[in-house]
């Protein structure tokens, strides 16, 4: 019978099935960071258990790490304790790889895994982090999990999971200049809503997805969770294989050829059936900007802020009214008239080399507007930072008035010192515009790296396609 890629990935990892269909899935790769793991390691120890396979673990510290003044270490004692707890746990149990604070390969867990070849096609990947869906870009089944599940995977190398329904998001055609992977996924979320993919595993396909680099595919899969789907993925192809060749943990020699032959099969069969199909025309997608406090509250740069009365459902209408109040916006305001205070280019969504190149291309020869208090660029990892510096991107960005920082999660969720003050408005390349996400009272607008750079230059949202 014809199978979707989800079914192939699922079937190849089932160890055991309970009567109600709950399955034990074998886990190939366990990514670990400091925030969601301490209680899991503690639980394991209290129960007198040992990790099942430490060779599956790749760990890094990312959420709490500062992006400047590394010579001072982590000055917040609670943050420092959490990072030191990870150091101690990994020292005690071991790992395939650990990239601690200040290591040259340290960075955001969802950037570090793929760039070192620790994420390989056909794997099941888990991490105590909802943006684990990122790894689906490599034709992986990648689940974000809670801390109890982190402990469960540590102890058993398995995840208890019920099979999801399948959804194909097919993006046909070609995106116009200035339109990126981020715009594709924001446009999708705007269309199906933040619960549109709940209970589903989303496969992203179609010509516009095939045309994306691995970086772009990671951006799209990263935000599957913002569409409500715990997993999102893209079939393996030449782009996937070319990206992986030669990476640290990728197979070599005869194993490489065997692996590639296997990876070629990681596609949905042509006549496989999906429970839901969403079709999008890439050529109609314009650069996106969110205006509210949920990623589904999004429109094009050529659009306007809606009014609560545009929505018939009273709960939704009240939600929009509350969002506009929080965001300090008025109905019918043009998006390109919204002035900003800060810019954040970074996060597991958009901090890879291609993102930094896009931002630098816009910034080259221009200046950050006088009303922008801070324009922050935070590379996803030490390796990306080094590559960007080798390409001279840091020089371009700092000459334009951007700050060039050390890698980490930074102002995506503001667990370190990088944050918005109450009322500040930010053009951000991250993934969530929830109330208080980037700092209590902060106002987040999600955009692509090119659009964030354009906003920094204009001091308000601006159409990157119109910059000459």
């Amino acid at each position: 019978m014809a199978r979707t890629l989800y079914e192939k990935l699922w079937d190849s990892h089932v160890v055991h099935v309970e009567d109600d269909g709950t399955a034990l899935l074998y886990i190939d790769r366990h990514l670990v960071h400091e925030v969601t793991s301490p209680q899991a390691f503690e639980g394991l120890k209290l129960a007198g258990r040992k990790p099942w396979r430490v060779g599956s673990i790749v760990a890094t510290a990312d959420h709490n790490t500062p992006t400047s003044h590394w010579e001072q270490g982590i000055t917040d004692p609670i943050s420092r304790q959490q990072v030191e707890t990870l150091d101690a746990n990994i020292r005690e149990v071991g790992a395939l790889a650990y990239f601690p604070f200040k290591d040259k390969r340290q960075g955001i867990v969802h950037v570090v895994g793929p760039e070192n070849g620790a994420t390989l096609p056909g794997m099941t990947v888990v991490c105590g982090d909802s943006h684990t869906s990122t790894h689906g870009a490599f034709a992986c089944l990648a689940h974000g999990i809670g801390t109890s599940e982190v402990e469960h995977v540590l102890a058993t190398q398995c995840l208890l999971q019920k099979k999801s329904k399948t959804m194909l998001v097919r993006v046909d055609g070609k995106v116009g200049a200035g339109v990126t992977a981020k715009d594709i996924v924001l446009a999708l979320i705007g269309r199906i809503g933040t619960a549109g993919g709940t209970g589903h595993a989303i496969e992203f396909g179609g010509a516009a997805i095939r045309a994306l680099s691995m970086e772009g595919r990671m951006t799209v899969c990263n935000m599957a969770i913002e569409a409500g789907a715990r997993v999102g993925f893209v079939a393996a192809d030449d782009t996937t294989i070319a990206y992986l060749k030669g990476l640290s943990f990728a197979p070599r020699g005869a194993d490489w050829d065997k692996a590639v032959a296997h990876w070629r099969g990681l596609v949905s069969d042509p006549d496989a059936r999906f429970d839901a199909v969403i079709e999008m025309d890439a050529s109609r997608i314009v650069p996106q900007v969110t205006w509210g406090t949920s990623p589904e509250m999004v429109t094009g740069i050529d659009g306007t802020v809606p009014a609560p009365e545009d929505f018939k459902d009273p709960v939704k209408s009240e939600g929009v009214a509350r969002a506009l109040q929080y965001m300090g916006l008025t109905p019918r305001m043009r998006i390109d008239q919204i002035a900003i205070d800060k810019v954040f280019i970074g996060s597991c969504t958009n901090s890879r080399i291609e993102d930094l190149r896009a931002a630098a291309a816009v910034a080259r020869g221009r200046r950050v507007a006088a009303n922008v208090k801070l324009a922050l660029v935070v590379p996803g990892s030490g390796l990306i930072k080094a590559q960007a510096e080798a390409e001279g991107l840091d020089k371009v960005l700092t000459a334009a008035g951007f700050e060039w920082r050390q890698p980490g999660c930074s102002m995506c969720l503001a667990m370190n010192d990088d944050r918005l003050n109450p009322g500040e408005r930010c053009a951000s390349t991250s993934n969530r515009n929830f109330e208080g996400r980037q700092g209590a009272g902060g106002r987040t607008h999600l955009v692509s790296p090119a659009m964030a750079a354009a906003a920094a230059i204009a001091g308000r949202f601006a159409d990157v396609r119109e910059l000459s």
Partner: protein
Amino acid sequence: MEKFIKLDGLVAPLDRANVDTDAIIPKQFLKSIKRSGFGPNAFDEWRYMDHGEPGQDCAKRPKNPNFVLNQERYQGASILLARSNFGCGSSREHAPWALHDFGFRAIIGESFADIFFSNSFKNGLLPVVLPKAEIDALFGLTEHTPGYRLTVDLPAQLVLRPDGHAIPFEVDAFRKECMLNGWDDVGLTLRHAEKIREFEARRRTEQPWLFA
């Protein structure tokens, strides 16, 4: 894990959709390396007038009188009434930990985000999905009836209203068994240790590069 069988409790309404995990427990409290003590900071930004940081005495902080869970009539509530897509956002298990620590044992809503839903079951916090019409009615009843209570009967899979109306709900058989018995997932899974070892050995032979 704490068992969940039958709960009779005061209901508190939280009438907004897409309540995200950043709202349930803001990031500054995720720096803790413990599983407990998150209750005083549940909904911190909505609940208090000042900015919350770890280590404060929350009893001394100014409360937001407009936040529904601060109202006198809802003190001691153990059932939270919610709208759609409750718990969306991050995978932080600190969200169900905070809600449980606050005193909730069940959340009745139109829909839940997947990771939050699964995390709740592992912490003795039962998420119950009911149709929109039933949720609309429950919001009305809770608002108009001081001291409004509900009974959540897990073995019978029913939410019982005081007027006798019984609303059935679905729950996976496996999760239900675990909740009813307070079973630890890890212990259950390790009964299959031999199968896991066999699976792993076969995988190691077939795709050795996964074990590099």
